[in-house]
Amino acid sequence: MDIAVETRALRRVYRSRNQEVVALDGVDLRVARGQRYGVLGPNGAGKTTMIKILVTLLLPSSGEARVDGLDVVHQFRELRHRIAMVSGGENVGFGMLKVKEQLWMFSQFYGMPSAPSKRRIGELLERLGLSEAADRRVSALSSGMRQKMNLIRGLITNPRILFLDEPTVALDVGAARDVRDEVRRWMAEDPTRTVILTTHYMMEADELCDRVAIVNRGRIVAEGTPAELKQRVQQNAIVDLQLSPGGRLLDALRAVEGVAAASVTEQDGLDRFSLQLSNDAALGGVMRVVEGSGRQIRGVQKREPTLEDAFVKLVGRGMAEEEQA
């Protein structure tokens, strides 16, 4: 197998005045060339730290990382020719430049000849439906347009490996879809390209990625294709319960016999409890607990498992819960 990215026991500790944060705690990652590889995890899981190490901006505290066969610590100069990174919500560049000027500027830092660079910028702007904005000032862009421009910045220089750190965060549905579509198209153009993308949207990982690593608290807790990961919760029945708001209920539900895992998210002013039941009889026990809580049931659905369910099963808690912890 041709490996694009590989890490061994990668660890990163941030030291500030009087505390240490272990952001990565022994990560072993292998990404085959040609893949769209997802790193899925809650905020604070260590996704950005991992990306920053892989793109040579940050040194690991220990462990090893190779990108395109090059060591990120020592062979970083050569590596920098071959990679690009785009982060979600970034506000980089210079607001008074025109979009095409800003893109040209960044291409020059890679030594790209101006004419091909401008041609490529034109093509990419066209492809992402930004042609009209080419002469607009960067400061005048909407956040969706800005993020598409940022994506183009990552694509102009034709990297071997493209790193996307939460590329669709805070985008509206349409812009997020455009970004994902472009990633697919770009990958389809050349089977030797690789994308590593972090996200905390499980839908995005599921829909876009060939393989996914689920990370939590600096560790990879599971890895596989989205289908394989969902397979892990296949033996359970997944039931969503929509309840009126109320006091704490999660622990009581988790204690019910036959409830393998449970998580809660807020949705339209209701609490949506996702339960993984190892047998159908467990539902009776769940209902008794709900009645005892005095909350009202606004909806019950049985549904197919998602990556979020896989996360809950593996970690024991939902992503939102992990973020608050």
Binding site: L58, H81, F109
Partner: protein
């Protein structure tokens, strides 16, 4: 895999990083007003101090030439040395750093882009103040003075790169320090009086700033009657030595501090 040569990337980076500066100066011309008027007002204030003292005309020339070089000093400090602080905040620094270019080229690009504004500012001071207050210069020294000027500015930009790498490391504190050091530097460089008046010790310390000797040399060349601090030829040699020393030091420290910054997460903007 083949990719563009380091030299090519270096040159292209300089041009590309200078570009937004040109554009900023051009698209925001109102800015040019403060950028040129503010130093002009400062220069004029100092000229009136000499006027009030009934100083000989060449002293007004000292102030004008000081104001001219001051424009470049400010460019180096504010448009170059402290710039990584802002770039980091905007998230630009990490994109500069992860590109296969050098931070030195980025810095030179910034300085070059800013030099346009500095030149305008310097020219305004030179013309307006000289005409307004009737300062005249010796034409015979003009060409060599121009040569010394170019050397001085080169040394200054090399020092700027050295400072930038330090600022990258100390960040906010360094920025405040630069702000606080303005007047002390004006004092030490003899922007407003002949460097000789500082005496050997203070003048010697001040000479670490390339402006001090360069300015004195230029004054000696085009303002006859300038009290000699040290002989002209020594000053020119010292400036050349400073170019070499500061260039070498800045390269070493940029490399060292970039590595240090990768270690301490100083290149990246913390988002969470």
């Amino acid at each position: 895999m083949s990719h563009p040569s380091a030299m090519r990337i270096f040159l292209k980076t300089i041009v590309a990083r200078a570009y937004p500066r040109f554009v900023a100066a051009y698209r925001n011309r109102a800015w040019l007003i403060t950028e040129t008027l503010l130093p002009l007002v400062g220069t004029i204030a100092m000229i009136y101090v000499y006027r009030a003292l009934h100083a000989p005309a060449r002293f007004l020339g000292f102030v004008v030439l000081g104001g001219v070089l001051l424009a470049f000093w400010q460019n180096v400090i504010w448009a170059m040395a402290t710039q990584f602080f802002w770039d980091r905040g905007a998230g630009n620094l990490e994109l500069f750093a992860m590109a296969p270019t050098s931070l030195a080229a980025i810095l030179l690009g910034m300085a070059l882009g800013g030099a346009y504004v500095s030149l305008t500012r310097a020219a305004t001071i030179l013309l307006v103040a000289s005409v307004l207050f009737g300062v005249s210069y010796s034409l015979s020294g003009l060409l060599p003075a121009l040569g010394v000027f170019v050397l001085t500015i080169s040394a200054l930009y090399c020092l700027g790169m050295l400072l930038a790498s330090l600022f990258l490391f100390y960040q906010r504190e360094a920025w405040q320090l630069a702000d606080a050091m303005q007047e002390p530097i004006y004092f030490l460089s003899g922007f407003y009086f002949p460097v000789r008046s500082l005496g050997a010790v203070v003048g010697g310390v001040g000479s670490l700033i390339p402006l001090t000797l360069g300015l004195d040399a230029i004054r000696q060349l085009i303002l006859p009657g300038t009290p000699q601090f040290i002989p002209l030829s020594v000053e020119v040699l010292a400036v050349v030595a400073q170019i070499i020393a500061y260039a070498a030091l800045s390269q070493i420290s940029l490399r060292y501090l970039e590595r240090q910054a990768r270690q301490d997460a100083r290149l990246i903007l913390r988002s969470t």
